[in-house]
């Protein structure tokens, strides 16, 4: 009990101190760009409750979800194929390396040409940026499947979907999740940027709108919302990962206990 309290104290102490410092330092601030924290917090409920949740936050999250899911499916599927066949891998590798090296945000202008400025454009932008870490990590993961297990599966006649599900994808899953994690932060970045470029709603659009109309406290609340969104998504991701990779973390912990 005491240990838990102590840990809680450690977790809460610094954030509390920092927020207090921010509050005090900005309290009497007359600088337009750095409004007092009090003003920001007072503005927060006015800006981010009611209609705006539905018109701006929800569309952003839906686009992110759609793009991210597309990238995950395409990345894992293609990655499994490329990772399974050595020849295919050798053919694709230089092209993939190049495509991955292109900074994803420059895709926004290109995809705007093809898909206009609607939701499709944003989903495609998010998907085409997120797909690379997933794809390349899947390739690596599939390549690294233990050869002994491969032989065993073969000799027991485990083939087709069963082989894919119980051997290949399972043993690649730690790598796949590492890719999905990288893809998540790229996805959020692309969501915001695609909305900053050309949009009529969404978080990125609204925040830039605030900035351009010099509604500075509102802009700050937008930054806070983006921060919270990033934090929340990473917490959700961790929970999912712990569930799916529970067997793997358990295995690692056991290996560490018995060196």
């Amino acid at each position: 009990m005491r240990r838990m309290l102590l840990r809680l104290l450690f977790a809460v102490a610094l954030p509390a101190v920092l927020i207090a410092l921010w509050w005090l330092a900005s309290d009497g601030s007359t600088n337009v760009y750095w409004p007092p924290l009090r003003t920001i917090l007072k503005t927060f409920p006015d800006v981010w409750t009611g209609a705006r949740l539905k018109t701006d936050v929800l569309p952003s999250i839906l686009r992110l979800a759609a793009g991210y899911a597309t990238a995950a499916v395409v990345g894992v599927a293609l990655g499994t194929v490329i990772g399974s066949y050595r020849r295919v891998r050798a053919v694709c590798e230089p092209v993939l390396e190049f495509l991955r090296a292109v900074p994803p945000p420059v895709l926004v202008p290109v995809i705007m040409l093809f898909a206009g400025i609607g939701d499709t454009m944003k989903i495609v932008v998010i998907a085409s940026g997120c797909v690379w870490p997933v794809l390349l990590n899947t390739v690596e993961g599939v390549r690294a499947v233990d050869p002994v297990m491969k032989e065993t599966a073969l000799s027991y006649g485990v083939t087709g979907v069963a082989r894919l599900r119980t051997l290949v994808l399972r043993s690649a899953s730690p790598q796949i999740f590492a890719g999905l994690r990288q893809a998540l932060s790229i996805g959020i970045i692309l969501m915001v940027i695609s909305e900053m470029f050309a949009a009529t709603d969404g978080l990125g659009f609204t925040i830039v709108q605030f900035q351009r109309s010099f509604a500075i406290p509102d802009m700050w609340t937008g930054i806070l919302v983006l921060g919270m969104l990033g934090f929340l998504l990473s917490v959700v991701f961790q929970v999912v990962e712990r569930r799916v990779l529970g067997w793997y973390h358990g295995l690692r912990a056991a290996a560490r206990r018995t060196p």
Binding site: F10, C92, V102, L113, S185, V192, G230
Partner: protein, 257 residues
């Protein structure tokens, strides 16, 4: 075997380029949206003759290198400090976990207000994004220090600084190098993004200009340049990593195979 792979890779690349030439010519996608490879290549060649291109490239590289250097320096110093001073790691864990996932693009409006299109607003984004990559890797690396080595150093009476220098740093270095490699890629992404969205001078801004003025082949040529830049940075970071870790098992193992 290696020769075959290279040949297959070259074939793949050639097929990719040929596809880029044929698809718009046949009319599967409009040429106005996706110009054939040859036109992109000639636009690329024109860019190379252009002084403005080189100064944009210089601006991008400056933002990237400065941002990365600041992030690496700060990440290492803060990371080592947090791990060496007792309880500091525990006290900061929750704050780091909270700040890390905040997308750096959230800072774009603030950067615009504070610094406009100056280099400083690029640096703000780049440093914020790449700092965490380094810091997290340093913290992981320090955790990985062999307790026996640490105890041995202590019992030989090495002071804090000597232990940091001779025990902690060499064990953490492989992690730090991975962090630098990741941060180098992230820094490039954020540099280009800042230029693209904020309009700070550099390749990103040039792409934005090409897009608004409908100079489609030029836009593609510039995007190819950013890809090549990313590739170069990747290869460079890997080389530096291999040099710096020449003594380390992971690299020596690689060479033997």
């Amino acid at each position: 075997m290696k020769g075959l792979n290279t040949a297959l890779g070259a074939a793949g690349l050639a097929a990719f380029l040929a596809l880029g030439e044929v698809v718009p010519r046949v009319g599967i996608v409009k040429e106005a949206y996706f110009p054939p490879t040859s036109r992109i290549a000639s636009a690329f060649w024109d860019e190379l003759q252009d002084g403005a291109f080189w100064s944009a490239l210089g601006d991008t590289l400056t933002g990237w290198a400065l941002g990365l250097a600041i992030a690496v320096g700060a990440g290492i110093v803060v990371g080592v400090l947090l791990s060496v001073v007792p309880h500091l790691r525990e006290a900061t864990a929750s704050t780091i976990e909270f700040l890390r996932p905040i997308p750096s693009v959230a800072l774009i409006p603030l950067a615009v207000l504070l610094y406009g299109t100056e280099l400083r607003s690029v640096l703000l984004l780049v440093v914020y994004a790449s700092f965490w990559q380094i810091l997290i890797q340093v913290l992981y690396g320090v955790q990985d220090v062999d307790p026996v080595a640490e105890e041995t150093a202590r019992s030989y009476g090495l002071g804090t600084w000597a232990r940091v220098r001779h025990v902690l740093w060499p064990s953490a270095l492989p992690y730090v190098m991975t962090g630098v490699r990741l941060a180098a890629a992230v820094a490039l992404i954020l540099t280009i993004t800042a230029e693209l969205v904020i309009g700070a001078p550099g390749l990103g801004a040039t792409i934005a200009v090409a897009q608004t003025s409908q100079a489609v082949p030029e836009m593609y040529a510039l995007i190819v340049v950013t890809g090549l830049l990313g590739l170069l940075i990747n290869v460079g970071a890997r080389t530096v990593e291999r040099r710096a870790l020449a003594w380390h098992q992971s690299v020596r193992g690689e060479v033997a195979v």
